[in-house]
Protein backbone atom coordinates (compact mmCIF):
# COMPACT_ATOMS: atom_id res chain seq x y z
CA UNK A 1 0.00 0.00 0.00
CA UNK A 2 1.37 3.43 -0.91
CA UNK A 3 2.23 6.10 1.66
CA UNK A 4 -0.55 8.28 0.28
CA UNK A 5 -3.08 5.48 0.79
CA UNK A 6 -1.86 5.01 4.36
CA UNK A 7 -2.23 8.73 5.01
CA UNK A 8 -5.80 8.57 3.71
CA UNK A 9 -6.51 5.69 6.07
CA UNK A 10 -5.10 7.60 9.06
CA UNK A 11 -7.24 10.58 8.14
CA UNK A 12 -10.24 8.25 7.94
CA UNK A 13 -9.57 7.23 11.54
CA UNK A 14 -7.44 4.10 11.12
CA UNK A 15 -4.72 4.61 13.76
CA UNK A 16 -2.98 1.36 12.73
CA UNK A 17 -2.12 2.93 9.38
CA UNK A 18 0.05 5.47 11.19
CA UNK A 19 1.98 2.62 12.79
CA UNK A 20 2.70 1.30 9.30
CA UNK A 21 3.87 4.74 8.17
CA UNK A 22 6.11 5.03 11.24
CA UNK A 23 7.63 1.60 10.64
CA UNK A 24 8.29 2.47 7.02
CA UNK A 25 10.06 5.78 7.71
CA UNK A 26 11.39 5.61 11.26
CA UNK A 27 14.72 4.01 10.43
CA UNK A 28 15.82 6.43 7.64
CA UNK A 29 14.63 9.40 9.66
CA UNK A 30 16.59 8.28 12.71
CA UNK A 31 19.64 7.56 10.59
CA UNK A 32 19.57 11.02 9.00
CA UNK A 33 19.09 12.77 12.35
CA UNK A 34 21.83 10.71 14.00
CA UNK A 35 24.32 11.46 11.22
CA UNK A 36 23.24 15.11 11.14
CA UNK A 37 23.41 15.77 14.88
CA UNK A 38 26.16 13.28 15.78
CA UNK A 39 24.29 12.37 18.91
CA UNK A 40 21.85 9.52 19.29
CA UNK A 41 19.88 11.08 22.14
CA UNK A 42 19.23 14.35 20.26
CA UNK A 43 18.47 12.35 17.10
CA UNK A 44 15.74 10.37 18.84
CA UNK A 45 14.25 13.57 20.22
CA UNK A 46 14.08 15.39 16.88
CA UNK A 47 12.86 12.30 15.00
CA UNK A 48 10.09 11.75 17.53
CA UNK A 49 9.14 15.42 17.37
CA UNK A 50 9.13 15.39 13.55
CA UNK A 51 6.91 12.31 13.40
CA UNK A 52 4.42 13.74 15.89
CA UNK A 53 4.38 17.05 14.03
CA UNK A 54 3.78 15.16 10.82
CA UNK A 55 0.93 13.25 12.47
CA UNK A 56 -0.73 16.47 13.61
CA UNK A 57 -0.30 18.05 10.17
CA UNK A 58 -1.21 14.96 8.15
CA UNK A 59 -4.23 16.65 6.58
CA UNK A 60 -1.86 19.20 5.01
CA UNK A 61 0.11 16.53 3.17
CA UNK A 62 -0.46 16.88 -0.57
CA UNK A 63 -0.57 13.53 -2.33
CA UNK A 64 0.90 15.12 -5.43
CA UNK A 65 4.27 15.03 -3.68
CA UNK A 66 6.16 12.21 -2.01
CA UNK A 67 5.37 11.55 1.65
CA UNK A 68 9.05 10.90 2.32
CA UNK A 69 9.98 14.33 0.95
CA UNK A 70 7.26 15.97 3.05
CA UNK A 71 8.37 14.14 6.19
CA UNK A 72 12.04 14.90 5.60
CA UNK A 73 11.26 18.60 5.20
CA UNK A 74 9.83 18.55 8.73
CA UNK A 75 12.75 16.49 10.03
CA UNK A 76 15.39 18.72 8.42
CA UNK A 77 13.80 21.77 10.04
CA UNK A 78 13.80 20.08 13.45
CA UNK A 79 17.47 19.15 13.01
CA UNK A 80 18.33 22.74 12.08
CA UNK A 81 16.51 24.02 15.15
CA UNK A 82 18.28 21.51 17.35
CA UNK A 83 21.67 22.58 15.98
CA UNK A 84 20.79 26.22 16.52
CA UNK A 85 19.67 25.67 20.08
CA UNK A 86 22.88 23.82 20.74
CA UNK A 87 25.02 26.56 19.18
CA UNK A 88 23.35 29.22 21.32
CA UNK A 89 24.94 27.75 24.40
CA UNK A 90 28.11 26.09 23.25
CA UNK A 91 30.20 26.19 20.13
CA UNK A 92 30.42 22.64 18.93
CA UNK A 93 33.95 21.38 19.28
CA UNK A 94 34.46 17.85 18.14
CA UNK A 95 36.84 16.14 20.45
CA UNK A 96 38.01 12.57 20.36
CA UNK A 97 35.61 11.88 23.21
CA UNK A 98 32.69 13.29 21.20
CA UNK A 99 33.67 11.20 18.22
CA UNK A 100 33.93 8.09 20.35
CA UNK A 101 30.58 8.77 21.94
CA UNK A 102 28.90 9.50 18.61
CA UNK A 103 30.34 6.45 16.99
CA UNK A 104 29.40 4.06 19.75
CA UNK A 105 25.95 5.60 19.90
CA UNK A 106 25.49 4.97 16.20
CA UNK A 107 26.23 1.31 16.11
CA UNK A 108 27.98 -0.36 18.98
CA UNK A 109 28.68 -3.46 16.94
CA UNK A 110 30.81 -1.63 14.42
CA UNK A 111 32.62 1.06 16.38
CA UNK A 112 35.77 0.64 14.38
CA UNK A 113 38.53 3.18 14.13
CA UNK A 114 37.46 3.98 10.58
CA UNK A 115 33.91 4.67 11.66
CA UNK A 116 35.10 6.96 14.41
CA UNK A 117 37.17 8.93 11.94
CA UNK A 118 34.29 9.13 9.49
CA UNK A 119 31.90 10.38 12.16
CA UNK A 120 34.46 12.90 13.28
CA UNK A 121 34.98 14.16 9.71
CA UNK A 122 31.23 14.37 9.06
CA UNK A 123 30.76 16.34 12.28
CA UNK A 124 33.36 18.85 11.12
CA UNK A 125 31.46 19.65 7.93
CA UNK A 126 29.52 22.87 7.67
CA UNK A 127 25.90 21.98 8.63
CA UNK A 128 24.54 23.00 5.22
CA UNK A 129 27.09 20.79 3.49
CA UNK A 130 26.52 17.90 5.90
CA UNK A 131 22.78 18.15 5.38
CA UNK A 132 23.10 18.13 1.58
CA UNK A 133 25.65 15.31 1.59
CA UNK A 134 23.51 13.09 3.83
CA UNK A 135 20.33 13.73 1.87
CA UNK A 136 22.04 13.02 -1.44
CA UNK A 137 24.37 10.14 -0.71
CA UNK A 138 23.01 8.50 2.40
CA UNK A 139 19.25 8.96 2.07
CA UNK A 140 19.58 8.98 -1.73
CA UNK A 141 17.15 11.78 -2.47
CA UNK A 142 17.20 13.35 -5.91
CA UNK A 143 18.25 16.97 -6.20
CA UNK A 144 14.67 18.07 -6.88
CA UNK A 145 13.53 16.31 -3.72
CA UNK A 146 16.39 17.89 -1.80
CA UNK A 147 15.36 21.31 -3.06
CA UNK A 148 11.82 20.69 -1.81
CA UNK A 149 13.13 19.48 1.54
CA UNK A 150 15.71 22.20 2.19
CA UNK A 151 14.33 25.23 0.37
CA UNK A 152 17.70 25.66 -1.36
CA UNK A 153 18.22 25.72 -5.13
CA UNK A 154 19.46 22.67 -7.04
CA UNK A 155 22.73 24.29 -8.13
CA UNK A 156 23.48 25.44 -4.57
CA UNK A 157 22.78 21.92 -3.32
CA UNK A 158 25.07 20.36 -5.92
CA UNK A 159 27.81 22.72 -4.87
CA UNK A 160 27.26 21.91 -1.18
CA UNK A 161 27.53 18.18 -1.91
CA UNK A 162 30.68 18.75 -3.93
CA UNK A 163 32.25 20.87 -1.20
CA UNK A 164 31.29 18.29 1.42
CA UNK A 165 32.99 15.54 -0.56
CA UNK A 166 36.12 17.62 -1.01
CA UNK A 167 36.23 18.48 2.68
CA UNK A 168 35.68 14.85 3.70
CA UNK A 169 38.49 13.71 1.44
CA UNK A 170 40.71 16.39 2.90
CA UNK A 171 39.85 15.46 6.49
CA UNK A 172 40.17 11.72 5.97
CA UNK A 173 43.33 12.22 3.94
CA UNK A 174 44.86 14.05 6.90
CA UNK A 175 44.02 11.10 9.11
CA UNK A 176 45.60 8.64 6.70
CA UNK A 177 48.71 10.83 6.41
CA UNK A 178 49.09 10.86 10.17
CA UNK A 179 48.43 7.17 10.73
CA UNK A 180 50.46 5.85 7.79
Amino acid sequence: MSDAALVRRVLDGDARAFTLLVDRHLQPCLRFATRMLGNRHDAEDVTQEALLRAYRALAKYDEAGSFRTWLFAILVNRCRTSLLQRSRYVKRVVTDEDAMHGATALDEASSTELRIEIERAVALLDPDQREAFLLKHVEQLGYDEMAAVTGAGVSALKMRVKRACERLQELLGEVNDVTS
Partner: protein, 203 residues
Protein backbone atom coordinates in the same frame (compact mmCIF):
# COMPACT_ATOMS: atom_id res chain seq x y z
CA UNK B 1 41.05 31.88 -18.48
CA UNK B 2 38.78 28.97 -19.24
CA UNK B 3 37.85 26.60 -16.43
CA UNK B 4 37.06 22.94 -16.90
CA UNK B 5 33.39 22.18 -16.55
CA UNK B 6 32.51 20.63 -13.24
CA UNK B 7 29.87 17.98 -12.87
CA UNK B 8 29.55 17.76 -9.08
CA UNK B 9 27.53 14.54 -9.18
CA UNK B 10 30.08 12.75 -11.30
CA UNK B 11 33.16 14.14 -9.57
CA UNK B 12 31.97 13.43 -6.07
CA UNK B 13 30.84 9.88 -6.69
CA UNK B 14 34.17 8.75 -8.07
CA UNK B 15 36.35 8.82 -5.01
CA UNK B 16 36.89 5.50 -3.32
CA UNK B 17 37.28 7.27 0.02
CA UNK B 18 33.89 8.92 -0.39
CA UNK B 19 32.31 5.62 -1.42
CA UNK B 20 33.62 4.13 1.82
CA UNK B 21 32.23 7.05 3.84
CA UNK B 22 28.85 6.66 2.16
CA UNK B 23 28.78 2.91 2.79
CA UNK B 24 29.55 3.45 6.48
CA UNK B 25 26.97 6.19 6.87
CA UNK B 26 24.29 4.11 5.15
CA UNK B 27 24.60 1.43 7.80
CA UNK B 28 21.15 1.22 9.40
CA UNK B 29 20.77 2.71 12.86
CA UNK B 30 19.01 0.31 15.18
CA UNK B 31 15.60 1.47 16.37
CA UNK B 32 14.97 0.87 20.06
CA UNK B 33 11.58 -0.86 20.42
CA UNK B 34 10.71 1.10 23.58
CA UNK B 35 11.38 4.39 21.76
CA UNK B 36 9.20 3.31 18.81
CA UNK B 37 6.45 2.43 21.27
CA UNK B 38 6.82 5.84 22.91
CA UNK B 39 6.28 7.56 19.55
CA UNK B 40 3.16 5.55 18.87
CA UNK B 41 1.84 6.25 22.38
CA UNK B 42 2.57 9.95 21.78
CA UNK B 43 0.54 9.91 18.57
CA UNK B 44 -2.31 8.04 20.27
CA UNK B 45 -2.50 10.79 22.90
CA UNK B 46 -2.86 13.48 20.24
CA UNK B 47 -6.21 14.30 18.72
CA UNK B 48 -6.71 12.50 15.43
CA UNK B 49 -5.50 14.60 12.53
CA UNK B 50 -8.42 16.37 10.96
CA UNK B 51 -9.38 14.80 7.71
CA UNK B 52 -10.52 17.35 5.18
CA UNK B 53 -14.25 16.77 4.62
CA UNK B 54 -14.82 14.81 1.42
CA UNK B 55 -11.14 14.89 0.63
CA UNK B 56 -11.50 14.06 -3.05
CA UNK B 57 -14.33 16.49 -3.74
CA UNK B 58 -12.66 19.27 -1.83
CA UNK B 59 -9.55 18.93 -3.95
CA UNK B 60 -11.55 19.65 -7.08
CA UNK B 61 -13.21 22.67 -5.52
CA UNK B 62 -9.87 24.00 -4.32
CA UNK B 63 -8.10 23.77 -7.61
CA UNK B 64 -9.90 26.59 -9.42
CA UNK B 65 -9.45 28.77 -6.32
CA UNK B 66 -5.77 27.93 -6.24
CA UNK B 67 -5.53 28.78 -9.91
CA UNK B 68 -7.26 32.13 -9.34
CA UNK B 69 -4.98 32.88 -6.38
CA UNK B 70 -1.92 31.91 -8.43
CA UNK B 71 -3.10 34.12 -11.28
CA UNK B 72 -3.55 37.05 -8.89
CA UNK B 73 -0.11 36.47 -7.42
CA UNK B 74 1.34 36.36 -10.93
CA UNK B 75 -0.35 39.66 -11.80
CA UNK B 76 0.94 41.31 -8.63
CA UNK B 77 4.43 39.84 -9.06
CA UNK B 78 4.42 40.76 -12.73
CA UNK B 79 3.44 44.32 -11.90
CA UNK B 80 6.12 44.52 -9.21
CA UNK B 81 8.74 43.12 -11.53
CA UNK B 82 7.66 45.47 -14.30
CA UNK B 83 8.05 48.42 -11.95
CA UNK B 84 11.43 47.15 -10.78
CA UNK B 85 12.74 46.22 -14.22
CA UNK B 86 11.24 48.99 -16.31
CA UNK B 87 11.65 51.77 -13.79
CA UNK B 88 13.99 54.64 -14.67
CA UNK B 89 17.65 53.72 -14.54
CA UNK B 90 17.01 50.03 -13.88
CA UNK B 91 19.31 47.64 -15.69
CA UNK B 92 18.49 44.35 -13.93
CA UNK B 93 17.12 41.54 -16.02
CA UNK B 94 13.73 40.05 -15.16
CA UNK B 95 15.39 36.67 -14.54
CA UNK B 96 17.71 38.24 -11.99
CA UNK B 97 14.81 39.89 -10.21
CA UNK B 98 12.81 36.65 -10.15
CA UNK B 99 15.78 34.74 -8.73
CA UNK B 100 16.19 37.33 -6.02
CA UNK B 101 12.61 36.91 -4.85
CA UNK B 102 13.66 33.72 -3.09
CA UNK B 103 16.29 35.27 -0.86
CA UNK B 104 16.91 38.36 1.22
CA UNK B 105 17.95 41.29 -0.97
CA UNK B 106 17.88 45.06 -1.18
CA UNK B 107 15.21 46.10 -3.70
CA UNK B 108 16.26 48.60 -6.33
CA UNK B 109 15.42 52.24 -5.66
CA UNK B 110 15.52 54.38 -2.56
CA UNK B 111 13.31 56.78 -0.68
CA UNK B 112 14.56 59.47 1.65
CA UNK B 113 18.09 58.06 1.70
CA UNK B 114 16.86 54.59 2.65
CA UNK B 115 16.62 51.43 0.56
CA UNK B 116 14.00 48.77 1.03
CA UNK B 117 15.36 45.33 1.84
CA UNK B 118 13.15 42.33 1.23
CA UNK B 119 13.85 39.76 3.94
CA UNK B 120 12.93 36.23 2.91
CA UNK B 121 13.03 33.05 4.98
CA UNK B 122 11.95 29.72 3.48
CA UNK B 123 10.10 27.76 6.14
CA UNK B 124 6.97 26.10 4.79
CA UNK B 125 6.20 24.32 8.06
CA UNK B 126 6.80 27.20 10.45
CA UNK B 127 3.76 28.73 12.08
CA UNK B 128 5.32 32.05 13.12
CA UNK B 129 8.40 33.89 11.86
CA UNK B 130 9.66 37.31 12.87
CA UNK B 131 12.67 39.42 11.97
CA UNK B 132 15.11 40.77 14.55
CA UNK B 133 18.21 42.85 14.01
CA UNK B 134 20.19 45.91 14.92
CA UNK B 135 17.55 47.99 13.11
CA UNK B 136 14.79 47.02 15.58
CA UNK B 137 16.95 46.56 18.70
CA UNK B 138 16.49 42.79 18.38
CA UNK B 139 12.91 43.13 19.46
CA UNK B 140 11.17 39.80 18.64
CA UNK B 141 7.70 41.32 18.45
CA UNK B 142 8.58 44.39 16.38
CA UNK B 143 8.62 42.83 12.91
CA UNK B 144 6.43 39.77 12.35
CA UNK B 145 6.84 38.41 8.82
CA UNK B 146 4.01 37.50 6.45
CA UNK B 147 3.66 34.16 4.73
CA UNK B 148 4.15 34.19 0.94
CA UNK B 149 1.22 33.39 -1.31
CA UNK B 150 2.52 29.86 -1.99
CA UNK B 151 3.01 29.25 1.73
CA UNK B 152 6.67 28.26 1.41
CA UNK B 153 8.41 31.44 2.51
CA UNK B 154 8.02 34.32 4.95
CA UNK B 155 8.54 37.87 3.70
CA UNK B 156 9.00 41.37 5.04
CA UNK B 157 10.09 44.59 3.33
CA UNK B 158 12.05 46.91 5.62
CA UNK B 159 13.44 50.35 4.77
CA UNK B 160 17.05 50.52 5.94
CA UNK B 161 19.75 53.17 5.95
CA UNK B 162 22.89 52.47 3.90
CA UNK B 163 25.47 50.32 5.68
CA UNK B 164 25.94 46.91 7.23
CA UNK B 165 23.02 45.42 9.14
CA UNK B 166 23.09 42.30 11.29
CA UNK B 167 19.88 40.32 11.58
CA UNK B 168 18.35 36.96 12.33
CA UNK B 169 14.96 35.28 12.20
CA UNK B 170 12.89 33.85 15.02
CA UNK B 171 11.18 30.73 13.75
CA UNK B 172 8.58 29.31 16.11
CA UNK B 173 10.55 30.73 19.01
CA UNK B 174 14.00 29.65 17.86
CA UNK B 175 16.68 31.92 16.44
CA UNK B 176 17.71 31.03 12.91
CA UNK B 177 20.25 32.86 10.76
CA UNK B 178 19.46 33.45 7.11
CA UNK B 179 20.76 30.36 5.26
CA UNK B 180 20.95 32.36 2.04
CA UNK B 181 23.03 35.22 3.43
CA UNK B 182 26.57 35.60 4.80
CA UNK B 183 26.89 34.89 8.52
CA UNK B 184 27.93 37.73 10.81
CA UNK B 185 31.46 37.05 11.96
CA UNK B 186 30.83 38.82 15.23
CA UNK B 187 27.75 36.90 16.34
CA UNK B 188 26.46 39.02 19.20
CA UNK B 189 26.46 37.04 22.41
CA UNK B 190 26.63 33.85 20.41
CA UNK B 191 23.37 34.61 18.58
CA UNK B 192 23.59 33.11 15.08
CA UNK B 193 23.04 36.04 12.76
CA UNK B 194 23.45 37.15 9.17
CA UNK B 195 24.53 40.29 7.38
CA UNK B 196 22.90 42.40 4.70
CA UNK B 197 24.74 45.29 3.08
CA UNK B 198 22.73 48.28 1.90
CA UNK B 199 24.47 50.44 -0.67
CA UNK B 200 24.79 54.15 0.02
CA UNK B 201 23.06 56.86 -2.00
CA UNK B 202 24.93 58.08 -5.07
CA UNK B 203 25.95 61.69 -4.69
Amino acid sequence: MSRPEIDPERDTAESAAIERVIAELRTPVAVRPEWRAEILRGAAKLASPDAPASRGVRRWTLRPLTAIAAALVCVVLGATIAVVVLGPGRRSSSAEVLANLTSTMPLPGEHGGQSTVRFVFVAPYASRVSLVGDFNRWNPSAMPMRRSADGRAWLLDVPLAPGRHVYSFIVDGDLAPDPAAPRAGDDDFGVPSSVVLVAGAKS
